[in-house]
Structures are given as structure tokens and as C-alpha cells.
Point group: C2
Chain length 452, copies 2
């Protein structure tokens, strides 16, 4: 006998019913499976549905399997369709069939359709429960319809007005308009006449988020070619999507390949796997620095003093590149810049890089002069030429860093990659190899006939 | 005579009225001030208000000043209070008084109060137009009230139920509940009884976003100590806030200090100013690498072959540090980790760093062996010891990189800074200096008696 056999409503203590679903989900995440099941059994089924509708709830499929199947069926069937899809997607493949058996045949077929959409597309995050009405319906009729079906709808605030003949989307009307207008008006007469904002099932979630945020919508309809509404993406899903995207962007920028889930829950193997790939790729590219150094070995032997500034100069190129990349990644992601604007950016970064390089160059030359003049270190008789080499080298390398850091996101975008794949370590590696070549070339020009 | 003197409704062409406010705002941003004013003059005032309510509209204060003052007053008074505050905040100080004169004394006083809230706090992004009702009101009365005042409210979907005696917030009820319940019920009887989610005016917008997203709210009330509702923050403002925060986080991570506004609109001076600060700070710290190199100069002269691998080894430390930092910044920002979890993270990063270092170390030793065995380069008779130095050095440096990259965000948080201030260049600089010391120390142990 489980708790669920007792009528749940009677057993549910007030303190549980009065808790927010998000808080209950968090408590469930922190207890053992058995305790979680015992707690869930004491919740009224409506409230349990709210808890399972929280994207934060972990082990959801597993918890459902631990319940009497009738109750599991009631909960799964009551959930919003986007969360049902989430839950099935997260379940192990072997568990999926058991989950499909919990819902009726029609729902199962609809879920299979939703599961077929590409991950992170509008189709994969939409819910199929929305309110629609034929254009000829009166406000009173639509309100009555909403009263009857609202329990099964995720949101009732946007109402999709359909062509009575074809079922195609004509207009969107808000509940707000409905309750403030004459009940005998037709619903179509309340519409603004503006072209409704829509997305297609294959639209990327980032673009969905941009549309919702741009037009301050509570939901955006997902339509097929014939403008039939397949589902809607609601603003709360979009927030989750935006947060997930920024996590991905920051991690990519740091040089980690898409790590999902809380830090402490990533297994050791996963952690190595996600980090070693990029680290090895960067390491192999960075090996070119060893080749560059070998190439300039005779110069190195003649003027070992040059090596002292290699880390300083190289890192400055990487830093200025990383700055430029972070600015450009965001500008491209926010749609402030398009691919064709690359030359405007290049025209800005060139003088910016030269100026920043000149500032660092002057500091660098001062540093060498101070050390020499105050006898902290002896750079030899040609110390002024060495200072000049460092100064000119910095101008060249910082300029090259800014230019390549700002152009890299454009190049990636042009090649069809996400501009956000331009990570700080990637830019640094790119700049390091070329930086060495610039430095030694400058040295050979300035120090020819003296040290070299 | 301006266009605005003609009754605007008559002059507004259908194609304009049928455009979305966000699209009109974008067109206005792309035209000259005079053209923008001419276009605005042809819009019905209600529609012009919608356009001014778009946070994306640039030069808003300036455009208002270009209009006949009666029309400017109508538009400014019709805007949502959060946008009014935005507009005044963005206006030059000298323009502010003129703007205050456009609204009535009560609104002006309320705006001055809102302006006093700290930037990025709930108080600074809230709107004061919301729907509230005393607990004793019936559903029918509340619906009637909404019909009367809805034109002046940003959202009417959450209704705040107040204690009739004290005016304190008791419960939140959704419009959804209202229209699906018996009109003779009291509004309080529709409430869930759950403690309403609230924030205080000083709550940071990041925390406001977290609450709205966690509880899937359309708005969250901002209350004072006596639980009087001062205003609400709506979900669309939160999306803007989340997007702004992630831009800030990526830029900080890239080593740029808070650049606001689209890339191409940042002036050259601003661009240098925002980037030169960090770049110089990093450059000055990185100068320690020159000191470290000078310190090991005798070793360098004896074994110049060691210098060949300095860029390779240093960059690996920086890269692994940057990976760890990006993971930890997000985990801390999303609340997955707390300050007291630092030791758990350290216990994960230590073996992760050793493993990653070992992987790179093996690749590095292979590289040296292959070059030596196939005569691509001659590292001398002690090439095996040099390979070992590089391998062991990499383990040490990558481990140190992972450890310091992961601990730095905790240290910053502990010191009261934003953990997201730990930029990739900052971590790289930190690791570079120590990396050199580790490398040369390893070399002195392994190569003592042979090369050194």
C-alpha cells in the first residue's frame, strides 16, 4: 500500500499545499527518491502537476515510474505539452515506451511529433495548449469557451483568431481586449489589423526569444506554411532559453564545449571530455609557437635579452584580441551588427588597436628605461634599441590582436558557425603565433647591425 | 506650423498604423531627427505612446523636445512609468527640468522618487501602474474597476489583493481566475493562500529576474517594509535586464569594462577609455613575467632550448584557467554553487587539472620526441630530460591554471566583488607569472647536473 491509495486531498497537510511549486521541486531535488515519492503522494494531484511542470524538477521520469500508474498517468496527462516532451527527452530510451503508455493514444501521437523537432527549435519548446477562436465568434462566445477549457491551457491571455474556412491564423487578440469590450462584438473586430508576429517550428530558440522580447509578447504562435497554429512558445520558456544560451555563450567563450547541468553534477569523465577536446586543439595549434621560436633560434642566441619580453608581448596581443572578440560576439548576437558591417568594424578596430598598442608600447619602453637607468637590470649597450623593439612590437601585436579578435566572429559567421564559438583561448592562440613572428621581424629590422 | 497641428488621426496613413511599435521605433532610429519628427507627427497619439514605450527607441527625450509641447506632454504622460524614468535618466541634466514640466505635479513627484532608486535595482525598473483591489471587493466589482482603468495600466493580468484596513499586500490573483469564477465571489476567496512572491525596491534586477523566472510570473510586486505595493516589475523588463546582464558578463569576461549601447555608436574616445584601463592593468601585472625571466636569466643562458616552449606552456595554463573560470562564473551566477562550496570545487578541479595536464604533457613529450627522432630539430643530447621537463611542467601549470581559474570567482565573491569580474585575460595573467616560476623550478630539478 502506498500513500497514493489514500485520497490525496484528505492527506495533504496545509503547509505543503501552501508552498510554491518551485520550492517543492527544489525540496524534491534535495531528498532521496523514496522520500520524494512519499512527499509527492501527499500532494493533491493538481498541485503535483504544478510541481512536475517546473523545468527545475530533476529525475521527473524516474519519480513518475515510482508512482502507482494511475496517478502517474493523471500527472503526466495534466502537464503542459512542452514539459511532457522535456520529460520524455530526458528519460532513458528504455523508459520512453512506458511513459507513452501513460497518456492516451492521441496525446502520445502528438508527443512523438513534438519529439521529432530539432533540439532548441521553436517546435521543440512549444506547447500545444493555447486558446483559439474562429473569426466569426462573438466576444461572449469566446469568453464562455475560455471558461470551459482554461484548465487545460498553459496561458489564456493571447487568443488566436483563425479563418473559419481554412483554420489559418488571421489575428491575435489579448484577453485584456476581450474583457474590456462589448460582449456582442465579433472577436475579429477587436484585432489591431497588424500582421501577427509568428515563428516557424524550425526557428531557433534564440530568434524566438528575440521576437518575444522585441514585441513584449506573452507568447508567440508557431505556424506551418499554411499558417495553421501548431503551438505557442510562452515567455517563461523563453527566459529559460535565454539563460541557457548565455551560459552556453560564456562557456564557449571560455573554451568549454556545451556543458549542461549544475557544475557539481557533471561527472568527472564528462568534465575531462568537455574540456580536453578544446584544450588539446589549442595546444596543438600553440605548438606552432615552438616552431616559430625554433625558426628564430639564431636570433635568440645572439640576443637572449629578447626572450625576456616574449610573455609580456604575447599576452598583450591575446588580451586585446579577447576584448575585441567579447564586444563583437555580443554585438552580433544582439543583432546590432550584420555580416556586411565587417568593414565598419575593421575601420574602428584598426585605429583602436594602434592607439591601445601605442599606450602599452610607451609603458613598456618606460619600464625598460627605468630599469636600465636605475640599474635594476642591465639590458646592455643597445638598451634603447631593445626598448624601441618592444614598443614597436607592442603596437604591431596589439593592433593585430584587435583586428583578428574582431574579425574572427565575422569569419565564423560567414562560414556558417556560431560567432560565439570564437573563444578567448582561441583568439589568444591565434595571436600568439603571429605575435612571435611580428616581434622577431621588428627585432630584425631595428637590431640589424647591432645585436643581430 | 507642424504636422501635429493637423488632427493626427486623420493624417495617419494605414500602413503606419498597421506597423508594430518595435518596427516603427527601429525606423525612427535609422532616420534623421527631422524625418523622425515628421513621421511621429503623423501617428495617432496612442500609437506614438506605444512607440515611446519601446526601450529600443533612441533619442527619445530629444524627439519629445522637438514636438509641440502639448503633444509631447500627452505622449510622456501616457508612457509607462518605468519608461518615463528611463527617458529622463537618459536625458542630459539640463533637459530634465523641461521634461518634468510636461507632466502633472503628482506624476513629477512620483518620477523624482523613482529616479532616486539605485540603478539596476527593482525600484529603478518598476512601473507604478498596476491593478489592485481591496480583499472585500467582489469579482464583478474588480472586473468593472479593470474595465474603467485598464487604459492606464501596463498589465492587468496579476491583481494585487490588499488589506482594506492597512493597504498591505495579502495575495495575488490572476485575471485568469477572475474570469473563470463566480462574479459574486469575493476576490480574496479566489486566492491560493500561498505567500505572494515579492521583492523590495533595493533588490538587484538579477535577483528580480531569478524570482520571475523561477515562479513563471508575468510580474512581481515591489513592496516596502509595511508590504505596501510600490510598483511592479513586468516580465518584459526582466528579459531586457537578463539580456543586458549577459552582455555585461561576456564583456567583463573578455576584459572590457561595461560598454553600453551598440558597438558602432560607442565613440572612439569611449572605446579607448573602456579598453585601455584593463589592458594597462593587465600589462603592468604581466610585467612580472619579465622580472621572472630576468631572475632565471642564468638558467636561460645555459639552456636556451628551454625558451622554445615558454609560449606553449604558458598559454596552456591560461587556457585551462579560462575554462574553469567560465564554468564557475555561470555556476555562481545561476545559484548552483554557494561561497561555502569552494572546497567541493577545489576537490573536483585538482584531479581535473592533473588529468588535463597529463594529457597535454604526453602530447608535448611526444612532439619533442618525434621532432628529435625524425631529425626535424635537434634538442641536444639531453632531449629526453627536456621532454620530461616540458611534460612535468605542463601537469603543474595546467593544474595550477584550473585551480586558480576556479578559485578566483570565489575569492572575488568573498571580497564583495561580482564573481563575473574574473576575466579570461585576468586569469591568464595570473597564471602566466606563476607558470614561468613553475616551469623553471621543474627545469632546475630535472636538469640539474646536466644542462643546468
Amino acid at each position: 500500500m502506498t500513500h497514493a491509495d489514500v485520497p490525496a486531498e484528505a492527506a495533504a497537510p496545509a503547509y505543503l499545499v501552501l508552498q510554491h511549486a518551485a520550492d517543492i521541486a527544489e525540496s524534491l531535488n534535495q531528498t532521496s527518491r523514496d522520500e520524494a515519492l512519499a512527499l509527492l503522494a501527499r500532494l493533491p494531484v493538481e498541485h503535483a502537476i504544478d510541481v512536475f511542470d517546473q523545468p527545475e524538477l530533476e529525475r521527473a521520469a524516474d519519480l513518475l515510474r515510482g508512482m502507482p500508474s494511475e496517478r502517474a498517468a493523471a500527472i503526466l496527462s495534466g502537464m503542459a505539452s512542452d514539459r511532457q516532451v522535456d520529460l520524455i527527452r530526458q528519460a532513458r530510451l528504455g523508459q520512453r515506451d512506458a511513459l507513452f503508455k501513460l497518456v492516451d493514444a492521441q496525446t502520445a501521437a502528438s508527443l512523438r511529433r513534438l519529439l521529432a523537432y530539432r533540439r532548441d527549435s521553436a517546435g521543440s519548446i512549444m506547447t500545444t495548449e493555447f486558446v483559439s477562436a474562429p473569426a466569426t465568434a462573438s466576444v461572449a462566445e469566446v469568453l464562455q469557451h475560455i471558461r470551459e477549457i482554461h484548465h487545460t491551457r498553459e496561458t489564456i491571455y493571447p487568443i488566436y483568431v483563425l479563418d473559419p474556412a481554412t483554420g489559418a491564423l488571421m489575428q491575435t487578440v489579448s484577453l485584456r481586449r476581450l474583457i474590456t469590450c462589448d460582449p456582442s462584438d465579433t472577436i475579429l473586430s477587436l484585432a489591431t489589423g497588424r500582421e501577427p508576429i509568428v515563428v516557424s517550428p524550425s526557428t531557433d530558440r534564440e530568434e524566438v526569444a528575440r521576437q518575444i522580447s522585441r514585441h513584449d509578447l506573452l507568447a508567440v504562435p508557431v505556424v506551418d506554411e499554411a499558417r495553421h497554429v501548431l503551438g505557442i512558445v510562452t515567455v517563461d520558456d523563453v527566459i529559460d532559453a535565454i539563460v541557457a544560451e548565455s551560459t552556453e555563450d560564456i562557456q564557449k567563450f571560455g573554451g568549454v564545449a556545451g556543458v549542461e547541468g549544475p557544475y557539481l553534477q557533471i561527472s568527472f569523465g564528462q568534465m575531462i571530455y568537455k574540456r580536453a577536446g578544446w584544450l588539446c586543439a589549442l595546444f596543438l595549434s600553440e605548438m606552432l609557437t615552438a616552431n616559430a621560436m625554433q625558426y628564430f633560434q639564431s636570433e635568440l642566441e645572439k640576443a637572449i635579452v629578447l626572450t625576456l619580453f616574449i610573455p609580456l608581448i604575447m599576452s598583450s596581443g591575446g588580451n586585446s584580441g579577447s576584448q575585441a572578440t567579447s564586444l563583437l560576439i555580443r554585438a552580433l548576437a544582439l543583432g546590432q551588427l550584420r555580416l556586411r558591417d565587417w568593414w565598419r568594424v575593421a575601420l574602428r578596430e584598426l585605429p583602436t588597436g594602434v592607439t591601445l598598442g601605442a599606450i602599452l608600447g610607451v609603458i613598456g619602453m618606460l619600464r625598460i628605461s627605468v630599469w636600465q637607468v636605475f640599474h635594476f637590470y642591465d639590458y646592455g649597450v643597445h638598451w634603447q634599441l631593445i626598448a624601441l623593439t618592444v614598443g614597436v612590437g607592442l603596437v604591431g601585436i596589439v593592433t593585430f590582436g584587435s583586428m583578428s579578435g574582431s574579425m574572427l566572429p565575422f569569419v565564423l559567421k560567414r562560414l556558417g558557425f556560431d560567432p560565439a564559438s570564437a573563444s578567448a583561448p582561441f583568439v589568444a592562440t591565434l595571436v600568439d603565433v603571429t605575435g612571435l613572428v611580428i616581434y622577431f621581424t621588428v627585432a630584425m629590422v631595428i637590431l640589424r647591425g647591432t645585436l643581430l
